[in-house]
């Protein structure tokens, strides 16, 4: 079974600082989105059980070749990377067309796995858009994937319950973080990752027709204003008194 895992390179969110309500992104290292690592682990587990290969697919700025190493170390067999600094400015609609065009270059793909949402924007559109462009069925929010011949049994986790569905291959699946615990690459795997096959394309290598797109425009992007009291409380008695004062206990 050949599985494509689409991962998004994002700035390391834990290192973003805020200055005058503006996010400071200079010198922030890049990493793969957290839920994308669950998508990779799900793909690697399927490959280990069924044979085949795992292809890492990602589109991003020039740091991507480096960022992709962690995914190759964690079990992807090869990488198809679209590298172009213009990609950072693009929205979900454009990225979906780019990823779909890249997937069409790969021979015999059975399954495409995404995380349910990217770590930074968490819009959750790209997997669904790629499925539509490629004309494939999709199941989102998978908490378990079981291969049964030419089809999958997928458990999906929804707010009001759990659903078990059967979906024929090829298909697009998005996973939630609870589906597995991503493995941590060993030193040997990290060293070997640099030698795994990589194909690097730029936008002009893809026969792209961006077609009709209603683009998303950003008016502002600011940290929310916070007006918390920030009272340092020394004892539980003091805390209980404060909460009584707020009319939150003893109501």
């Amino acid at each position: 079974m050949n599985v494509v895992v689409a991962m998004k390179q994002i700035p390391d969110l834990q290192q973003i600082r805020i200055r005058n309500r503006q996010p400071v992104l200079e010198d922030i290292p890049w990493t793969m989105g957290a839920i994308d690592k669950n998508a990779l682990e799900a793909a690697v587990q399927i490959k280990e059980a069924q044979g085949g290969k795992v292809v890492l697919l990602s589109a991003g700025n020039e740091e991507l070749e480096d960022t992709a190493k962690e995914a190759l170390a964690a079990g992807a067999d090869e990488a198809l990377l679209i590298i172009d600094d213009k990609l950072d400015e693009m929205g979900s609609a454009e990225i979906a067309k780019i990823l779909a065009a890249a997937i069409q270059r790969i021979e015999k793909i059975d399954l495409i796995i995404f995380g349910e949402g990217s770590g930074d924007n968490y819009s959750g559109q790209v997997g669904s858009r790629v499925a539509e462009i490629l004309g494939l069925p999709q199941v989102g929010y998978a908490s378990a994937i079981e291969v049964q011949g030419e089809s999958l049994r997928v458990s999906r986790s929804l707010e009001d319950g759990k659903e078990l569905v059967e979906i024929g291959l090829p298909a697009v699946i998005t996973v939630i973080s609870g589906i597995n615990e991503p493995r941590i690459a060993s030193v040997t795997q990290i060293l070997k990752a640099g030698k795994k096959p990589k194909e690097i394309l730029d936008l002009s290598d893809l026969a792209l027709d961006l077609g009709e797109i209603c683009p998303v425009k950003t008016e502002s992007n600011l940290a929310p204003e916070s007006d918390r009291k920030r009272v340092a409380v020394k004892s539980v008695d003091e805390l209980v008194a404060a909460l009584k004062g707020e009319n939150l206990i003893g109501r």
């Binding site: 973003i16 819009s123 078990l164 425009k217 940290a223 409380v233 008695d237």
Partner: protein
């Protein structure tokens, strides 16, 4: 006359979408139309709130199959002359949003928590950079799919002027087979509705310590919740109690945060609480900066003392 179409498979969320649709429709002199798929009860509910309801009855349109729902809604948009579609940004709605936007050639925003019509543009607020920032964005173009966060808007009240008409749509055979749906039992937690949340983080020593935290939640008249690692890594609590970007966004009157460091992916789910109490033994933990009352102390000791004080 052009129009705006709403759709959610959930009755309550559909009524919330009517409220948002009303804001946009009023500004443009449009009509609010609603698509109900295989759901006669929802037709009545939305019509009672003044919507022009289009009832789609077609067993091949399964909510579990986003591809077919998207095809059905595309047909509805064409027949009803609608260029903007509002969906709920729950899991089903978010999955559908991307697919529908692609079918329509539309721009799409999901997880929208506020909407303001500014001339030709519909300004939408949503979290960005994992919740570190709130972005105001709009779609530059006629065709738009907007998915609205549950509970961000009040459900539309009853109003005259509603109607129900049948609408025929053709969809291909579904490629998804629904084998089983297991509804959550009604005893499961509803942390989004709770007035008080006591939230445990990775500072909690062991699963056994949860009992005391839960007891405190009960004494405060609230629910127990947690940060994501407690559910997904440690499996101490179910996923439906997770607060954060990929969990739930809650606005309780009181949030007591225990042993939580304060990464944005967590705080985005609780920063709208009225009063925040933070207990963390690390004085440099960011969570102290976003609390109304903060204690640099061992959470286990504080939970014990609070349980005694409130007994």
């Amino acid at each position: 006359m052009a129009g705006i179409l709403i759709y959610s498979d959930k009755d309550k969320l559909a009524r919330e979408l009517l409220t948002v649709a009303g804001l946009i429709a009023d500004a443009r002199g449009w009509e609010v139309k609603a698509a109900c798929i295989n759901n006669a009860r929802q037709c009545q509910l939305l019509s009672a709130a003044g919507a022009r309801v289009y009832q789609i009855e077609n067993p091949a349109v399964l909510p579990a199959d986003a591809a077919n729902v998207a095809v059905a809604l595309k047909e509805a948009c064409g027949k009803l002359d609608c260029s903007i579609v509002l969906l709920s940004s729950d899991r089903r709605g978010r999955e559908l949003a991307g697919r529908l936007a692609q079918v329509l050639g539309a721009g799409c925003l999901t997880d929208i928590s506020a909407v303001k019509v500014e001339g030709e543009q519909i300004h939408c607020q949503r979290n960005a950079l994992g919740g570190a920032t709130v972005a105001t964005q709009y779609i530059d173009g006629e065709k738009q799919v907007l998915a609205i966060v549950p509970r961000a808007f009040a459900p539309a009240p009853d109003r005259d002027g509603g109607s129900i008409d049948e609408l025929q749509v053709e969809v291909p055979p579904s490629r998804i087979k629904l084998l089983e749906f297991q509804a959550k039992d009604s005893s499961s937690a509803n942390i989004e509705e709770a007035p008080v949340l006591v939230v445990a983080g990775q500072g909690l020593n062991s699963q056994e310590d949860l009992a005391a935290v839960e007891s405190l939640a009960q004494k405060l008249g609230g629910e127990l919740a947690c940060s994501k690692p407690l559910a997904t890594d440690k499996k101490w609590l179910p996923e439906d109690r997770v607060i954060g970007l990929s969990g739930k966004k809650c606005q309780p009157d009181l949030a007591v945060l225990l042993g939580i460091s304060g990464q944005v992916q967590f705080t985005v789910g609780i920063r709208d609480a009225r009063v925040i109490v933070a207990v963390n033994s690390d004085e440099n933990a960011y969570i102290h900066q976003m609390a109304d009352y903060s204690m640099v102390a061992d959470l286990h000791q504080i939970v014990k003392e609070l349980n005694d004080a409130l007994a």
